[in-house]
Subunit: 440 residues, 2 copies
Amino acid sequence: MSEKEVKIGLVGFGTIGTGVAKLILEDGDSIAAKTGLRLKLACVVDVDTKSARPVKLSKGILTNDLDKLLKDDSIKIGIELVGGTKAAKQIQLKMLRAGKDVVTANKALLAEHGNELYKAAHENKRCIAFEASCAGGIPIISGLRTGLAANNIMAIYGIVNGTCNYILSNMTSRNEDFAEALKQAQRLGYAEADPTLDINGGDSAHKLAILASIAFGCEIALSDISVEGIEEISKDDIRYGGEMGYVLKLLAIGQKDKGGGISLRVHPSFIAKDNSLARVNGPFNAISIFGSAVGQVMYYGRGAGMMPTASAVVADVIDVALGNSATTFAHLHLKPRSETEKLIEKIGDSISRFYIRVMCKDQPGVLAKMAKVLGDNQISISGTLQHEGVGPDNTIPVVIATHLTRQKNVSAAVKEIKELDVIGGKPVCIRIVDIPEDKD
Amino acid sequence: MSEKEVKIGLVGFGTIGTGVAKLILEDGDSIAAKTGLRLKLACVVDVDTKSARPVKLSKGILTNDLDKLLKDDSIKIGIELVGGTKAAKQIQLKMLRAGKDVVTANKALLAEHGNELYKAAHENKRCIAFEASCAGGIPIISGLRTGLAANNIMAIYGIVNGTCNYILSNMTSRNEDFAEALKQAQRLGYAEADPTLDINGGDSAHKLAILASIAFGCEIALSDISVEGIEEISKDDIRYGGEMGYVLKLLAIGQKDKGGGISLRVHPSFIAKDNSLARVNGPFNAISIFGSAVGQVMYYGRGAGMMPTASAVVADVIDVALGNSATTFAHLHLKPRSETEKLIEKIGDSISRFYIRVMCKDQPGVLAKMAKVLGDNQISISGTLQHEGVGPDNTIPVVIATHLTRQKNVSAAVKEIKELDVIGGKPVCIRIVDIPEDKD
């Protein structure tokens, strides 16, 4: 069949950029056979034009001059893989204004400035494709936008940060401390030297902002999302939760209630051991989606890494070149944030079950005192766990699992419990999330 | 935003057709808000215009006259949900010739006559969209065609028949006989009154033909697929396999080797208990795909049922109306079968591990005789299992797991073993499939 040549400009020749170049150069024939498109890497821009990369570009392709890409009208598609939000934003805006469609993996930028960039794209009659921004190799954005388009999406529960999942998996299976597990993740390249944005939940929040805006059809701001990380998780709580039948995961959760209210949260979550997400281990990602017609659908795969992310970038390039992205993007109508922000549930009002662990002095009446505080705050207990043996300062851990209750009630109760004279240290409070597994 | 009206004709007003009508009528507003498309059901054709359905059509919409749909030029999209391959084929051809794009869930028709129908569509400059033909609510076709487009797909392992998975799950978890489990599936609506096409693997083969043609980019005939069903599976073998660490699933398998050879098989398969597919139970479907760049991706969800399948049909209607299906379909270039059929591996040459169970007389030298036959046929043993206790005619079950070997070697060995004087009944032979779970 006849092939259509598609010239591509790439900005950012780091790990993912190198993967994209590899795919385009090495798999060009098979992509052409499948799609009829001959992808051609016409210009690669990076401040570093010297370092060796494991892919060989033709002479004259690599430059540190963005204008070379912008001024070449034969380049219709620009890939932004610079990362960060400042320079990257300007690069995307310049590419859009120069008449190029944009493909990006930049979740932080889209989460923070997506609405502004989408607007710029619409104004310039161009599109932005961003499959690679969420969950790397898992085609979740196209799934939400096309395959599940006929559904009213009711909920998303995602393990979308491989670093956190790797750390929590190792804390669970090897009984490692957080610090040990983090070090191991860094040694293996699953965590960066500065892991802050991963372990504090920020990266998961970026992805949730993008996923939820597509799933619920509305503009979402990062500030709409309540975020807790995994930095303070202790292996003891993972073990006690395990004894109660739970596995700890960092979940990104988007839920819509029947009145249209939207709850957006990233937090450590105890989920039932037999839930499909509980079995997602190591650096893998998985996302369960609940649609009005389809019920539960789960996607599982690699959430990061050079080639999985490059796979998503090049898939977007193909979709843009075929013209499909333009159509889909033109029909991306998000309710303005002024409307949706009224629907965002305050975290204090969010309803959940809770795991509360308190270090108590080993003396009579302790459980009675705690139970009274919980009862006074309208919290009812669904289970307790108390081991023999003694913790620091002769305290013993007492774990209480609650029935559904509001976060603010639990916060108030925990504050009171902390003041009891029978308590040592700070109570630990982790949500128990009952994911409505679709079963027959 | 302005809405574009899209008139739709529907042929086949049974269970799925009713689900499609429900979605279009009841979720029209949310679909319009998300996509800008106002779907309008303009004509519904069925031989039965009398029976009550749980959805209310406007007056004059339901007819038994296909011509009414064909001659209405305002109808641009025709949905075929008649099922079967004869009338359905004519209906699709007539719709294509009348200038309508076709959306269908008809896997049997596409598996048997897809190449001819695709040709007719190309000739009429129309498209056929068939997301609903495979794995119901799971958007696997669009995943393969768009999200994973940059990958060379190396292998597909799918649980794509909910009836078989429900039966095997119950045989495993409740120690039920095949006949009992089938009856229960029929009572709950997971198996049809005549379950032949499900339990003999035919339905899975239909889906594999479609999936493999998209994944590997080539025309595939049903006769290219080697098919075995689950009718002869005994709960004893499920139990013995379980003791060896395996779970039994009916898998549809498509594999490509480095030389381009393609292996296409549907058969009962023992897979490792900790593989993600082993945990897919009841009527659910799941498909693991291995791509050159992305590694393993798994999709999980409902493979059948009124609303999940309707969800896929309406997703296709939206994709067709946006114009994306036309582009994707125009770029669907499958290698002609004359080229691919040379690449199809003969089942006798296929390499696998095997579970062989033989009922042996309880006397000295039995295992030695069997081991000799296996050795003579170049088959090496990876494990054996022999329980005390006595079967019919004073025989005891001896189970042998083999290392990788060719199917034809095993067939020859089993034939010889059957003739041994120490054997009662027919040996049972089930493949052990080592799915290369992507791990770190």
